[in-house]
């Protein structure tokens, strides 16, 4: 962790508390070499025949007051990563440190005090609220489970939380089915905030919502960060959402972080080809600008199976710059520019890490040719 990196001040969080904390660069969560392999068992004796390498060795840290966005295609291990750092899943290897304390293999009982500081917002507001419980019961569950009695009583505190997230406090007695998706997500946020956590992990907090509601919820998260000095890890596949909320962004591909950078650096000058491809896929809502910039990169094929990931760089099967070294050697996650770490042999917008290796792989040559063709045709128009 270099000093230059810590300079990045959260851009959208105007609250002094959050800003100061971000500038301090105090590390709240530190993840090293984190792995989660789900065993595949077969046969009568349940012998392990393989493993789904959902998360396969990732390192990052989250500083106080900042928002780390995690993006990637479906099945790249984003959600598994979120469940590992909240310890809903037991990591296979690596360590998770929260406030300097190793929580990787703590038991349920020993984790309990930590649960107060790390909360989660879930993806599907229709399944994250128990349909048989009232909103009051749902939002007050953290108090009951942690044995905390807030000042002024549980009911009053729940009603305060409901008004904080923009719901009518009188809805205390209602049931989840009486609310819309956006309102339900607010209830989920109120529950996550109940114990005044330090870190909130949001697993695709808006992807199940209408686009019009997404903005409301995203802005609510922003405002809450400002008011309460929260630290977020926001997992999403919507790049515009991530861009809006994040200070730093981690791009994941097949269980690995391929690029980890400050938001502006990442969007301005993505280094990893995968990041570039992802960014090029963001739709541009302005038809005038669309004509100017039309270098959409279409990646061919699906994400390879995490059961047997490709050798070397995991992206080499779909990359248009892949060379021999990409197939044989796994690129390390290196800081090629202050505040921008990339795992690539031939990064964009930076000097080549393996300049001696110029021979493109066959698939890459095809991909590159098609890329050239498609950009030609689009520029013709």
């Amino acid at each position: 962790m270099s000093d230059e990196k810590a300079v990045s001040i959260p851009q959208q969080s105007g609250g002094t508390q959050a800003k100061d904390a971000g500038a301090d660069g105090e590390i709240l969560l530190k993840v090293t070499g984190l792995q989660k392999h789900f065993p595949i068992r077969k046969g009568l004796l349940q012998r392990q025949t393989g493993a789904v390498r959902a998360v396969d060795g990732i390192d990052f840290e989250v500083r106080k007051g900042e928002t780390l966005g995690v993006v990637g295609e479906s099945g790249c291990g984003k959600s598994t990563m979120g469940r590992l750092i909240t310890r809903l899943l037991e990591p296979t290897a690596g360590t998770v440190e929260f406030e300097g304390r190793d929580i990787t293999h703590l038991s349920t009982g020993a984790l309990r005090p930590m649960r107060r500081d790390v909360q989660m917002i879930f993806q599907d507001p229709y399944s994250s609220l128990n349909p048989r419980h009232t909103i009051g019961t749902i939002v007050s569950a953290p108090f009951r489970l942690q044995g905390v009695t807030p000042e002024g009583g549980v009911k009053k505190e729940v009603q305060r939380l409901l008004s904080v997230v923009g719901l009518n406090p009188e809805h205390y007695n209602r049931y989840p089915h009486e609310f819309s998706g956006g309102q339900r997500q607010r209830i989920g946020i109120a529950r996550a905030l109940a114990l005044n956590p330090k870190l909130v992990v949001a697993d695709e907090p808006v992807s199940a919502l209408d686009v019009s509601i997404q903005a409301q919820v995203v802005n609510l998260l922003d405002d809450l960060q400002e008011e309460l000095g929260l630290t977020y890890v926001i997992i999403a596949h919507d790049l515009s959402v991530v861009r809006h909320v994040s200070d730093r962004i981690a791009v994941m591909y097949l269980g690995k972080i391929v690029e980890l950078a400050d938001r502006n650096a990442l969007y301005k000058a993505p280094m990893h080809p995968y990041t570039k491809a992802l960014l090029s896929a963001v739709p541009i809502p302005d038809p005038k600008r669309r004509k100017v910039k039309s270098e959409r990169i279409l990646l061919k094929g699906d994400v390879p199976s995490p059961i047997s990931p490709p050798s070397g760089c995991r992206f080499h099967t779909r990359c248009w710059k892949a060379t021999q070294i990409c197939r044989t050697t796994e690129p390390p996650l290196l800081e090629l520019r202050p505040g921008q770490r990339v795992a690539c042999h031939h990064p964009e917008n930076s000097e080549d890490q393996a300049p001696q290796d110029t021979e493109l792989l066959t698939e890459a040559r095809q991909a590159a040719a098609e890329l050239g063709k498609s950009s030609d045709t689009s520029s013709d128009k």
Binding site: R83, T86, L88, T108, L111, R112, R115, R116, V118, Q119, M120, F122, Q123, D124, S127, S128, L129, N130, P131, R132, H133, T134, I135, A141, P142, L145, Q146, K156, Q159, R160, S163, N168, P169, E170, H171, Y172, N173, R174, Y175, H177, E178, G188, R191, L195
Partner: protein, 332 residues
């Protein structure tokens, strides 16, 4: 699910303090899923009819002794004067129906049929209800354990269910009931027979509900609210009893009302086979059993208890179907 919500009172944008002050007076009332189910159930006339009959039957069973006392009915009083000694059948048509004996009298002894039906009702419902409760209790616990913990717990419990389902239940029930002698558990006579029946029927029918609860638990376990509870530090028992069980109440209630009639029939079959309730206690199955020998002389004797069983089973089934529709509208 779109239930109308009555919203009157404070507006949404009010200040929290102001709103808090008005909380007690507010008219906003959330409708729980139970209330919505009840509204839906009330609209279902057939199910309501079944429900009313079930309530009447339960009342009749619970109050059977007071009813007999009030109306001066005695299920065990012999009226030999009403029996034709040659045929052993009641004198007169329709099983000896008269104002004094509205459902007639039984052959051989001339006991009042109405009194015997009423007196038999509590036995039938007690055995069926007790057996259902026992099987629901065992089935729910086993199903929850198997579904929530999975792995080897699930394997053991599931194999146990398979074993129980593979038992030739009727033969087993007959042999157990026949081999239990007076003095077991310090009980004898009627209480012993009732306990044995409840145990046999309940203990061997739990896998049916166990499987349903297991399947439901397995699907609920993957929902995010379970993860949410765990992320707040909830332990297994909390998750099972506070988060899962409330969601299982509906299927359990529905299934219970649907196996009560099966258990009534099962008790009747055991009594019919002579291993259930022993005479002189009146029981519907026992009456049917006696009637088989005498049906040529007195067909009415078979008809009355048969009708009682039929009405009871039908009422419970209609109630159960209605409850299922009301509690889980998607299952249609």
């Amino acid at each position: 699910m779109t239930a109308p919500i009555e919203t009157t009172g404070a507006e949404a944008g009010a200040q929290p303090e102001a709103v808090l002050a008005g909380v007690k007076k507010s008219q906003i009332e959330g409708r729980s899923l139970t209330q919505i189910a009840w509204m839906r159930f009330k609209r279902d006339k057939v199910a309501m009819a079944g429900g009313v009959v079930v309530v009447l039957l339960v009342l009749m069973a619970v109050l059977s002794k007071p009813i007999q006392w009030v109306f001066g009915l005695d299920p065990n009083k012999f009226n030999q004067d009403l029996i034709d000694p040659a045929l052993l059948a009641p004198k007169g048509g329709w099983g000896g129906m008269s104002w004094e004996h509205p459902l007639g009298v039984d052959p051989q002894y001339g006991r009042d049929m109405l009194a015997r039906i009423i007196d038999g009702s509590w036995v039938s419902l007690l055995v069926a209800g007790g057996a259902t409760m026992l099987s629901v209790l065992i089935g729910t616990v086993m199903g929850l354990l198997a579904g929530y913990y999975g792995g080897w717990v699930d394997s053991i419990i599931s194999r146990m269910m398979d074993t129980f389902l593979a038992f030739p239940l009727l033969l087993f029930a007959i042999s157990i009931s026949a081999s239990v002698q007076d003095g077991f558990f310090g009980l004898d006579g009627l209480p012993l027979r009732i306990c044995v029946l409840i145990f046999v029927i309940g203990f061997f029918s739990w896998p049916y509900i166990g499987r349903i609860v297991r399947a439901q638990t397995m699907s609920l376990r993957e929902r995010e609210f379970i993860e949410a509870a765990r992320s707040m530090g909830a332990r297994g028992p909390y998750v099972v009893f506070r988060e899962l069980l409330p969601n299982l109440v509906a299927p359990i209630i529905v299934y219970s009302t649907l196996i009560i009639p099966t258990n009534i029939l099962f008790e009747a079959s055991l009594s019919f086979l002579g291993v259930g309730i022993a005479p002189p206690q009146a029981s519907w199955g026992g009456m049917l059993s006696n009637a088989v020998d005498l049906y040529t002389a007195d067909p009415q004797y078979m008809f009355v208890p048969g009708l009682a069983i039929f009405i009871t089973v039908l009422a419970f089934n209609l109630l159960g179907d209605g409850l299922r529709d009301a509690l889980d509208p998607r299952s249609k």
